[in-house]
């Protein structure tokens, strides 16, 4: 490419030299067009994943460049999906890169009309305090003379969109805390 002269690059000349007299093809290609490369080829990393929407579990291939996701498309190796994706799976890149994603903790005081900022570390600490406090206030050792060893003051909802490992830790912790009102979308 570097040894092309101006005459090589000038479309009119190319038009006359090649068989493309009407200048509709090869002669009309611009520099950027010639240098066109799909961003799948220039990614720093290619990572295998699974679609987060429905339960078919289509394989996904995630392309990363400079620490950001630049493309998500189907994984042709998957015997389940064969590289195909529905409109939701096809929108996964927009899902994970959306400017609508909240990236900062939001906090609402009791009776407040607005959200406020809150530091993440503080938020987790406050939540831990509330769990301990609520549990203590609502703890029951026995009911009708039978051992129950629990709190009915704390409940949880959610899990179907989460990983197995996350569900496992959640149930493990809640159970150890004595919380039994633990549920998720499977119940709906």
């Amino acid at each position: 490419m570097n040894d092309r002269t101006f005459l090589d690059l000038w479309p009119v000349v190319r038009q006359l030299r090649s068989g493309d007299l009407l200048g509709r093809g090869e002669a009309a290609k611009s520099g950027p067009t010639r240098r066109l490369t799909p961003r799948t080829a220039t990614a720093d990393q290619v990572v295998k994943s699974v679609c987060p929407y429905c339960a078919v579990g289509c394989g996904q291939t995630v392309y990363v460049k400079d620490g950001a996701v630049v493309q998500i498309e189907g994984d042709p190796d998957s015997p389940v999906s064969r590289g195909r994706l529905c409109p939701k799976g096809s929108a996964s890149k927009q899902l994970v890169t959306s400017p609508n994603r909240v990236t900062k903790v939001r906090y609402r005081r009791p009776h407040s009309t607005e959200w406020e900022d809150l530091d993440l570390d503080t938020a987790i600490d406050m939540i831990a305090d509330r769990v301990i406090d609520t549990r203590a206030r609502t703890w029951v050792w026995e009911e009708d003379g039978k051992r129950v060893r629990r709190t009915m003051g704390i409940a949880s909802l959610g899990g179907a969109t989460l990983d197995n490992e996350e569900n496992y830790l959640m149930k493990k912790l809640y159970t150890a805390l004595g919380a039994v009102q633990i549920e998720n979308q499977a119940r709906i």
Partner: protein, 853 residues
């Protein structure tokens, strides 16, 4: 399926290309129907009548696969003479207690084998009927039916049988009598399906079943979300057993579940009534200690007989060295159930003020659960709420801009709920496994760091646990021992100290006495030498390899593709595949060969991991008194069932009857044509002023409504209505009505409509379409209103939520709400503000509202 599982649907299209016939049963003609050979429009909520008529069709014409039925089902089992069927009691089974609205299963038992209730109940032969009823109610409320999630409940011993199927009290004959009035004529009266169409479907089904051909059923929440949801599926199970389709390639029943890892969240459950692997949560009244907990399963045939090993291994996973034989392996650390603590009773507890704190994690109950108002009023009564999600979902902002703020039922300043919104990491920002609807675990890898404060739930909960333990450290309170003794020390990596998801998966898999990863749940012991977080997942980390991360391309494997991911149990892809071979161990046909007995090798072999004791020959007869897996005979194909047979009739385990029965939905426009019992007698009732029922056969609410998904959106909308590319595909909430209904009510295509129930009224744009048929049900014309359920007040595309209309009545086995109701529909937009409340109140008055218990 084309709407909700489009990529899975490619396999239906492949089958169709090879000559399979596709039948689509649905109240509406959808994108699935467009590809089907036959679309059967059905009145929502009448599936048991339709499927039951198919059962009757098969039985009266003797079209069942007799050899399969006799060998592999309990058709020959004889039932006690105490049993009375719905034919004798006008819609009730024997054993109903009208005061508690629950059944005792005592009179449903087999003759010659006293049926125990689910795990841990006392031997009913030693209890009186009253105690049995109480225990039955407690079991039902404690969600015991679901503990049979990976196998049947216990029936000690095996029943007496009549292999000729002639005994008047054998299951086969009981089945015949039970469904005798489920005729094609009755189907016209109940479902709105013509005799001709019924005959067509019956023909397609029966001619495609047998040795050479198999038929499959696929279903989703159109079956589960009913007060008779579990019985809907049971009827299909009866059909598939009679036709010999269970355990066979191209056969079976496929549950099309709806979320990326909802199967995983049921297996390793964040569910109130289950521990990992469908071990039940202990019940206060039945399970005082480990021994009583595992007692009922001790005498069982099959792999549930090893309940003690699974339970002890789980306890060791949770409490490690602190759990030993001396302290019952910390069994007492487990909190106990005393009834139904599922999500809807929990909402009642929030309304009552007893439940004060709530975590909502990747779910949006304000839009996705039934009776949105109840959900939001419940959350408004909390002390604190933690929401973890990607965007501001309606469940996080109800205090600011929910429908009740608009009407004035709630005032922001009056809501004392403290709300924490913590942003969550997406699936490309964390390692972990999902379990898909085929029980297959697939690993996904972290590709990028989560932005800002976003973190995975793994990180959050690990951190929360660490902080709680640190704050409680040194506590002498016995209450805190389970928290402090918990094994909670996962390796962390990276600058954010993210816990290792693989380490957690390895714990789930289980380790042996030497600390090495186990390969099979058969290695689990009850002496504390093994640990296992979820026994049905044991094997996913076999050989210290993450089997869920296997990605051998499908094109390099057989059509079963066993080296992609890992399915539970033991990487079996079709359950009960022993039934794909005849009693002698030979495939029913070469064409449908799947798993068979290799006499020379002395093992079962085939295209899949055989779902049977590997070296047990087909002619094996277990010795008397054999227990657990030793009691499995060579023809006991259904190894997780305690008697080794598939159950046409369920003597125990279900709260609402051993056989499916047609009842009208809790809100209905019709009187039950089949029985004097209008509704399912054992249905779960949620009584609250915010949950008033519409009266049946009311002129005020003359139409049926039901809800569903669109392919462009996903569940409660948090992951789709916030994205421009999906929002523009379906930009507004709409309803679908037939041209006749549109004419009757003056609705215009593209215009607006208001849909009203006793709960509230919502508005939607209108699509007038022939795809919603006016049904001829008996001599009535029945109109159904179709409602997508994705919309809420937040996002790019916003609209009213159809779940605000839905009344909460529960299936008594699964505690899942129904989604069929009655309504009125009027042209134009709904009133806003307090005027909406007046509008709904006007309807309630005209309906003569009385909240039904």
């Amino acid at each position: 399926m084309a709407e909700c599982h489009p990529v899975g649907f490619q396999w239906v299209m492949e089958a169709k290309a090879r000559g399979a016939k596709i039948v689509h049963v649905d109240p509406r003609f959808t994108r699935t129907s467009a590809m089907a050979d036959v679309h059967v429009p059905i009145r929502a909520g009448s599936d048991i009548a339709f499927l039951g008529a198919l059962v009757n069709h098969i039985l009266t014409r003797a079209l069942d696969f007799r050899e399969y039925v006799v060998a592999y089902t309990n058709a020959a089992a004889i039932v006690t003479e105490d049993f009375q069927d719905t034919e004798e009691l006008d819609g009730l089974f024997s054993g109903f207690d009208p005061e508690s609205n629950s059944y005792s299963a005592h009179t449903w038992r087999y003759e010659g084998a006293e049926a125990a209730a689910a795990a841990g109940q006392r031997d009913p032969s030693q209890t009186g009927a009253e105690e049995m009823a109480a225990a039955g109610k407690a079991a039902r409320e404690g969600g015991q039916p679901e503990t049979a999630g990976s196998g049947g409940p216990s029936v000690p011993g095996k029943p007496e049988r009549d292999e000729t199927l002639q005994h008047p009290r054998c299951v086969y004959q009981i089945l015949k009598r039970h469904f005798a009035r489920y005729t094609p004529e009755m189907v016209e009266q109940v479902c709105g399906i013509s005799r001709e169409q019924f005959a067509e479907v019956a023909d397609i089904l029966t001619t495609n079943s047998g040795r050479e051909r198999t038929a499959a059923f696929c279903y989703a929440v159109g079956w589960t979300q009913h007060s008779v949801g579990v019985q809907n599926i049971r009827t299909a199970a009866i059909l598939q057993q009679l036709l010999g389709n269970m355990g066979r390639p191209g056969g079976g029943i496929m549950a099309l579940r709806g979320h990326a890892s909802i199967q995983g969240s049921t297996d390793i459950p964040t569910l109130y009534n289950l521990l990992p692997g469908y071990i039940p949560m202990p019940h206060a009244h039945q399970h005082q200690d480990l021994e009583s907990f595992v007692a009922a399963d001790a005498g069982t045939t099959g792999y549930w007989g090893n309940m003690a090993a699974y339970t002890v291994s789980l306890l060791k996973s949770y409490w490690g060295d602190a759990a030993s034989a001396d302290n019952d392996f910390c069994f007492d650390y487990l909190p106990r159930l005393t009834g139904d603590h599922s999500t809807y009773p929990t909402v009642l507890a929030q309304l009552e003020g007893t439940c004060k704190g709530y975590f909502v994690v990747g779910e949006n109950p304000a839009v996705g659960s039934a009776n949105g108002k109840m959900q939001r009023l419940g959350m408004a009564n909390l002390e604190w709420l933690v929401v973890r999600d990607f965007t501001m979902i309606e469940s996080a902002t109800f205090w600011k801009d929910g429908p009740e703020i608009e009407t004035g039922e709630l005032r922001t300043e009056d809501i004392g709920t403290e709300v924490f919104f913590l942003p969550a990491a997406s699936h490309v920002e964390k390692d972990g496994s999902f379990t898909n609807t085929q029980r297959m675990l697939q690993w996904h890898y972290k590709a990028v760091e989560p932005p800002g404060d976003c973190q995975s739930e793994l990180k959050f909960y690990h951190e929360l646990g660490k902080r709680i333990r640190a704050k409680l450290a040194g506590s002498n309170d016995e209450r805190d021992r389970p928290v402090l003794d918990l094994t909670w020390d996962y390796p962390e990596h990276g600058p954010d100290r993210e816990p290792s998801a693989e380490a957690v998966l390895r714990e789930i898999n289980g380790t042996g006495p030497d600390g090495a990863a186990l390969s099979s749940y058969t290695a689990l012991a009850d002496d504390g030498s093994t640990a296992c977080g979820c026994w049905i997942y044991c094997g996913v980390f076999a050989d210290e390899l993450n089997q869920a991360a296997r990605r051998k391309p499908g094109r390099e494997q057989s059509w079963v593709a066993p080296e992609w991911g890992w399915a539970w149990p033991s990487n079996r892809r079709i359950l009960y595949n022993r039934a794909s071979a005849d009693p002698d161990g030979r495939p029913w046909s070469e064409r449908k060969a799947y798993v068979w007995w290799d006499a020379d090798a002395g093992t079962w072999t085939g295209h899949d991991v055989p779902d049977f004791v590997a070296d047990r020959p087909p002619d094996y007869v277990p010795p008397d008194g054999a227990r657990g897996p030793d009691a499995i005979g060579g023809q006991d194909a259904f190894i997780m069932q305690s008697d080794g047979k598939a159950w046409l009739y369920a003597p125990i385990g279900l709260a609402d009857g051993p056989l499916p029965t047609h009842y009208e939905p809790p809100e209905s426009i019709l009187e039950n044509p089949l029985y004097g019992t209008q509704h399912s007698p054992a249905r779960g009732r949620i009584v609250h002023p915010a949950n008033p029922l519409n009266p049946d056969q009311s002129e005020v609410y003359p139409y049926v409504f039901t809800s569903y998904r669109l392919t462009e959106h996903h569940t409660a909308g948090g992951m789709t209505r916030t994205l421009p590319y999906l929002s523009e595909l379906q930009p507004e909430m709409f309803c679908e009505v037939s041209p006749r209904l549109a004419a009757e009510r003056g609705l215009v295509n593209g215009g607006w409509a208001t849909i009203v129930t006793n709960r509230t009224a919502i508005e939607a744009r209108v699509l007038v379409t022939e795809r919603v048929r006016t049904l001829r049900v008996g001599d009535r014309k029945v109109e159904q209103v179709g409602l997508p359920y994705h919309w809420g007040v937040n996002g790019i595309t916003v609209g009213d939520s159809s779940n605000d209309l839905v009344h909460v009545t529960l299936d008594p086995n699964s505690h899942i709400q129904g989604k069929v109701g009655t309504c009125d529909i009027r042209p134009g937009r709904r009133p806003t503000g307090p005027a909406l409340l007046e509008y709904v109140e006007g309807y309630r008055r005209r309906a003569g509202i009385a909240s039904e218990a």
